[in-house]
């Protein structure tokens, strides 16, 4: 009987993202004050970084620890193209994605000669190299002084001035990027990447071009991070090499792990928690100031013990929740 039953997409999967998008779009109307709007804007930008990380690490299974370099590259590219070359923001935004995708693909080639832990080391080194270059190439990046006075995001004469405008613009960009990446990852490309992740030898034996797919994963992941970086630079209106250090890469990785690798909602949840927990703990109390930086780390340790696949890692989601979301059918007696 079960074999002949046609598969129907659960309504939570079909309509959930749209409902979420509508609820998010209403946030500026209900949130008191602009601070929380800023936190949500920052969360969405980080969710884009995590999405980029997840393509490479979650779906393609390559443990990279240098995504902040691509975020920085995207931010600097976009800021310099608008401020120095006079490009409009949308063009600079797209260009930063293309530049980062190309650099990601170029980095992938030497990276593919090493595996697992060594891949992490190569990407950490890449992050350091990016930091050093941004810190020392004075003529281009103004070095450690950073670039102040970055213009706000602007599309066809409409400038995102207020916090709500910026929020909606970032939400729109994030929604499009999540939609596109979801289409790719739930299609043939994503399935092939997962196949390579789970058993590279078997995938190769079946005629899959393993190298090509890995390079593609790097290009997409780094391109997404570059696009996010462009948003970040124009949203913060200031860029400096300090913003793209190794710690930032580790934060993005933590978010990806916390949310659950290879999980679309996990990207958003991980970013949300890792931005929100420190913000919620921000206080003038001296003891809270002291413990605050450690809380995120402690959260991650707790997670590794109880939910090693992340909060929304599919295999780890409790069956009751999966049934509630109609992701799994009731067990028949």
């Amino acid at each position: 009987m079960a074999m002949t039953e046609t598969f129907r997409t659960p309504f939570t999967v079909k309509f959930g993202p749209w409902l979420f998008l509508i609820l998010m779009a209403c946030l500026p109307l209900v949130l008191p004050g602009r601070f929380w709007l800023h936190i949500f804007s920052l969360t969405m930008i980080y969710a884009i970084f995590v999405l980029g990380q997840n393509v490479v690490t979650g779906w393609a299974g390559m443990l990279t620890l240098g995504q902040a370099a691509f975020v920085g590259m995207g931010a600097y590219a976009s800021v310099l193209l608008t401020m120095q070359a006079g490009l409009s923001w949308p063009l600079a935004f797209l260009a930063s994605g293309v530049i980062c995708a190309a650099c990601g693909a170029a980095l992938a080639l030497p990276c593919l000669r090493v595996k697992a832990d060594f891949l992490s080391l190569v990407t950490i080194a890449f992050n350091q190299i990016f930091f050093m270059v941004a810190n020392n190439w004075m003529e281009l990046t103004r070095g450690p002084m950073g670039i102040p006075g970055v213009p706000s995001m602007q599309i066809l004469g409409w400038k995102a001035r207020s916090s709500s405008d910026q929020f909606w613009l970032i939400l729109g960009v994030a929604a499009i990027l999540f939609f596109l990446v979801a289409r790719l990852m739930h299609g043939q490309l994503g399935r092939t990447m997962k196949m390579i992740r789970d058993d590279e030898v078997a995938a190769g034996a079946l005629g899959v071009n393993v190298t090509g797919y890995k390079v593609l994963a790097f290009a997409i992941g780094c391109g997404v991070c570059g696009l996010g970086g462009s948003l970040y630079g124009h949203y913060m209106r200031f860029v400096s090499p300090d913003m793209f250090k190794l710690e930032e890469s580790l934060l993005i990785m933590q978010m990806a792990i916390l949310g659950g690798l290879a999980s679309m909602p996990g990207c958003a949840l991980g970013a949300f928690l890792m931005i929100m927990i420190p913000e919620a703990l921000r206080s003038s109390e001296p003891w809270l100031i002291t413990i605050r930086p450690g809380v995120a780390g402690a959260t991650l340790v707790a997670l590794m013990i109880w939910r090693p696949n992340g909060l929304l890692g599919f295999g780890q989601m409790p069956r009751s929740i999966r049934r509630l979301l109609r992701l799994e059918k009731e067990a028949r007696p």
């Binding site: 450690p144 950073g146 400096s240 930086p293």
Partner: protein
């Protein structure tokens, strides 16, 4: 040509809007005498520059005692940790601005944090009283809601160079700089100043702060270049280590000039005797004879068993300045304008401000290390040759 008279629709609209705005202003409670002054202190309480945040906090606490003794409206303050990171600083700024709970901001400490937070404070028109951000961009970016206490990097670099060249007669300088916004900014301006003063930069070397601890190759580079003066554009840890390692390599007796980021006892300890006779040009003189300074210094020593750094002194002075002006009737809206038109005598000396919000007519106190202790020399920087740069 006919001249339009009478009331136009646009004019009526403007008048209407104007009266609404005026009504709004009148309805707004005027800053009442006796109402507490609410200050947000934004500083790096954790992270690499946490020691500066601690000094800011101690400076604020020391100021609170002086304010209590002086009477007038009470002052309350809350600390916001920016971790020395621009992203955190932007979040802190939005949080402070959004809460509407604060009349003014004292901070941030790191220039990169101030630069990241200022667009937000500027949007919300919150007055910012900045202590130690010395990057010239802080007051050159067109924000009219900021004043600062410290002397700008470009002016500082000119003074350090002039002291080495004119006062000490050294024409061959070797520059050691921390490759961050502070050290790099000083180095760039020092190159220009050396040129104007007819001196030569024979060697320069940057290092990554909080990472590089071995300066032996830089020492030999400076020695081989025939340096007559070491210009240290860094903080006390690296400055002290550099001199200590130079001494171990047999490089001694070379004139050394540096900024007040060296003015910590650790500088003398780490240099292992090599700091003797070196000069520090400080934006304030902790050893000045003035009663205000001495009272502050002894109170601070008693409370914390430490010498207050520049950050502590500036934070304390900013608190007292804000309190004085608010007590005299300033409101958050008029505070920055009032500060620019005032002369303030604090622990760090006498301050005046220019239209941009920079301190003017400030001179550096020349401090030296004598018998293993800091001591004021009472010397003044000979500024001959600097005119070309102004």
């Amino acid at each position: 040509m006919t001249q339009k008279t009478g009331i136009t629709r646009r004019g009526a609209l403007k008048m209407g809007l104007g009266s609404v705005a005026a009504a709004g202003l009148m309805a707004r409670p005027i800053f009442a005498q006796g109402a507490p002054v609410r200050i947000a202190l934004a500083a790096p309480m954790t992270g690499d520059s946490a020691s500066m945040g601690l000094n800011a906090q101690r400076g604020a606490e020391a100021a609170m005692k002086l304010i209590e003794a002086a009477g007038g409206p009470s002052v309350t303050f809350d600390i916001f940790d920016d971790m020395g990171q621009p992203r955190e600083a932007a979040s802190v700024a939005r949080r402070i601005a959004d809460s509407g709970d604060y009349d003014l901001v004292v901070g941030h400490v790191n220039s990169s944090c101030t630069l990241a937070a200022m667009p937000i404070y500027s949007d919300y028109e919150i007055p910012v009283l900045c202590g130690s951000s010395s990057n010239s961009q802080v007051t050159e970016s067109g924000w009219d809601n900021i004043v600062r206490m410290t002397i700008r990097d470009d002016y500082g670099a000119q003074q350090y160079s002039a002291f080495a060249v004119n006062n000490l007669g050294k024409k061959k300088m070797a520059i050691l700089f921390a490759n961050d916004d502070y050290g790099r900014g000083l180095r760039d301006k020092m190159m220009v100043a050396a040129d104007a003063l007819g001196a030569e930069v024979v060697a320069e070397a940057g290092f990554t702060p909080n990472l590089d601890k071995d300066f032996s190759s830089i020492v030999s580079q400076f020695r081989n270049a025939g340096a007559e003066a070491f210009m240290l554009n860094c903080n006390y840890t690296e400055g002290g280590l550099f001199l200590g390692q130079a001494k171990s390599a047999g490089v001694e007796g070379i004139a050394t000039v540096g900024p007040d980021s060296l003015l910590y006892n650790e500088y003398i300890e780490l240099a292992q005797g090599a700091a003797e006779g070196s000069y520090i040009l400080a934006a304030y003189d902790p050893y000045a004879d003035s009663d205000t300074t001495q009272a502050f210094m002894s109170g601070f020593r008693e409370a914390y068993d430490a010498l207050p750094s520049q950050v502590a002194v500036f934070t304390s002075d900013l608190f007292i300045l804000a309190h004085q002006l608010m007590a005299a009737g300033s409101t958050p809206k008029t505070l920055i304008g009032d500060i620019k038109g005032t002369e303030f005598v604090g622990v760090g000396g006498t301050y005046h401000w220019d239209a941009k919000g920079d301190v003017k007519d400030r001179t550096f106190a020349v401090i030296t290390v004598k018998d293993g202790k800091f001591a004021s020399t009472g010397a003044a920087v000979d500024e001959t040759g600097l005119d070309a740069l102004r």
